[in-house]
């Protein structure tokens, strides 16, 4: 009982360089949360989706072989959970939330407003993309992952990702420019 209650690092010190669950959680919680939001998980499902992600991390961490970076591995999990949530949402389309309370954070109102507007703009652009392109956009353009990492997380070859990133960057720039020019 005690062993299961404790997360891995409390139960026994991790061998070699394998990080503990707590270390990963502290380092990557925000990253995973951002990924879920950017991949279209609505605010009322975020807590559950994040729990799902970290449950999977908890269970699979002992089997993690270190062949990829933790961030890449984690983002693969985030992508899968987000896909499942989006699939469920398609079955219940009227559950699309209207308000995103997570946007109402503290900060000075002007800065928060600017951020919210920026996200709204990105969100609109993301809504024009198919699932695979959206994932690449979030990985590379939003989170700054390298193309090779994104390719591994998304499950595509690197060349495809590089080409798509190039096209996505162009599209987004012209799209953002067009938004600025709108009356």
């Amino acid at each position: 009982v005690v062993h299961v209650l404790a997360f891995p690092d409390e139960a026994q010190p991790p061998p070699d360089e394998r990080p503990s669950f707590n270390a990963l959680y502290a380092q990557y919680f925000e990253f995973g949360w951002r990924g879920l939001r950017a991949l279209g998980v609505p605010s009322d499902r975020l807590d559950d989706a994040a729990q799902e992600v970290w449950l999977i991390v908890f269970r699979r961490l002992p089997d993690f072989e270190g062949r990829s970076r933790h961030r890449t591995w984690l983002f693969g999990i985030v992508i899968n959970v987000a896909r499942n949530v989006r699939r469920a949402l398609r079955r219940e389309p009227n559950l699309v939330p209207l308000r995103d309370d997570a946007l109402a954070l503290s900060l000075d109102p002007h800065a928060q407003s600017e951020r919210n507007e920026a996200w709204l703009m990105v969100e609109m652009f993301l809504s024009t993309l198919d699932e695979a392109r959206r994932e690449i956009f979030v990985c590379v353009l939003l989170e700054g992952m390298r193309a090779a990492e994104a390719a591994e997380a998304v499950g595509l070859d690197e060349n495809t990702v590089v080409n798509r990133v190039r096209a996505l960057r162009r599209s987004f720039q012209s799209w953002a420019e067009a938004r600025r020019m709108e009356p």
């Binding site: 409390e10 807590d47 729990q51 469920a88 949402l89 009227n94 559950l95 209207l98 928060q112 920026a118």
Partner: protein, 295 residues
């Protein structure tokens, strides 16, 4: 957005990324949720004689109300009754002998073995779900379900377990017709702003719904939502997005003339629209590939 933003694309991305960060207390709340789920599964596993149930999480599609459903459904009704009785006895004994339970000792990183064991045994129920979000129609009837823990408010797993999921079952028994009628009504009314004119975010939400309705084959709903936007939103707001959605819905409904009209309007608005790609497989594909002569 819509003429107000003066940021470049890279700045927009950076600001957007920042806006996605979780608020204060979210990490702790999720961590508590994860731990509660693990404890629930532990309780189920110990009843089955195994200490760690090897449940693959990604293999089957995850239902929306994952956190709540995983608890009771994983246990099964009979087991739940047995578990409840056992926990009740243990809880009674602990209340008699210890006076007050220190559930806070379950905090990750702080637990001591004897207390952890005791506290784990006091889990009366699996946790409720934040994902048990109300539909728009259901929301009109009842209060929204409590989230797993609102920032800074809920700390103990006992409090987490005290919220029943009763209203959801009630809604499941409603006739399908009522559900549908309420859904369509709620689709529009629930996004009405106080001033009556739809805001950017509201229009975006409605467009997403229309798109979801179209993908779901509910073309009538999709068309109704788009008409509603046209009536209540400022004419220039997300006009390209609205026209694109309109073309796709009209095509899906087999209304080719209307799709053509909308496509022509889209060409007039912006012949180089970035949505042209989305229309290349629509019923007006030919028109999507050439700019309008009216421009």
């Amino acid at each position: 957005v819509n003429g107000r933003s003066t940021l470049g694309a890279e700045q927009v991305l950076e600001q957007a990324r920042r806006s996605l960060n979780p608020g204060p207390g979210v990490a702790e709340r999720v961590r508590e949720g994860v731990q509660t789920l693990l404890l629930s599964e532990l309780a189920a596993g110990s009843r089955d004689g195994s200490s760690s149930p090897p449940t693959p999480l990604l293999a089957p599609p995850i239902e929306p109300a994952t956190a709540a459903r995983r608890g009771p459904t994983a246990l099964g009704n009979g087991k739940l009754v047995l578990l409840g009785a056992a926990l009740g006895i243990i809880g009674f004994w602990l209340a008699l002998h210890l006076g007050q339970l220190q559930v806070g000792q379950l905090q990750v990183g702080d637990e001591q073995a004897p207390d952890t064991t005791g506290s784990a045994s006091t889990q009366p129920n699996p946790p409720p779900s934040t994902a048990a979000a109300p539909s728009s129609a259901e929301a009109a009837d009842r209060e929204p379900p409590a989230t797993l823990a609102r920032p800074g408010s809920v700390k103990t797993t006992e409090t987490l377990s005290s919220e029943p999921a009763q209203p959801r079952r009630e809604s499941a028994r409603r006739p399908a017709e009522i559900q549908k009628a309420k859904r369509v009504a709620a689709t529009s009314s629930s996004v009405a702003s106080v001033s009556g004119e739809l805001t950017l975010r509201e229009v975006l939400a409605l467009l997403q719904r229309a798109e979801a309705a179209r993908a779901d084959g509910r073309l009538g709903d999709a068309s109704e939502i788009l008409s509603d936007i046209d009536q209540r939103a400022p004419p220039a707001l997300l006009v390209e997005e609205r026209l694109t959605a309109g073309v796709l819905v009209a095509c899906s409904m087999g209304d080719h003339p209307r799709a053509l009209r909308l496509r022509e309007r889209l060409n007039r608005e912006n012949s180089a629209t970035i949505y042209a790609g989305r229309l290349t497989e629509s019923c007006v594909a030919a028109q999507a590939e050439r700019p309008s002569s009216t421009r």
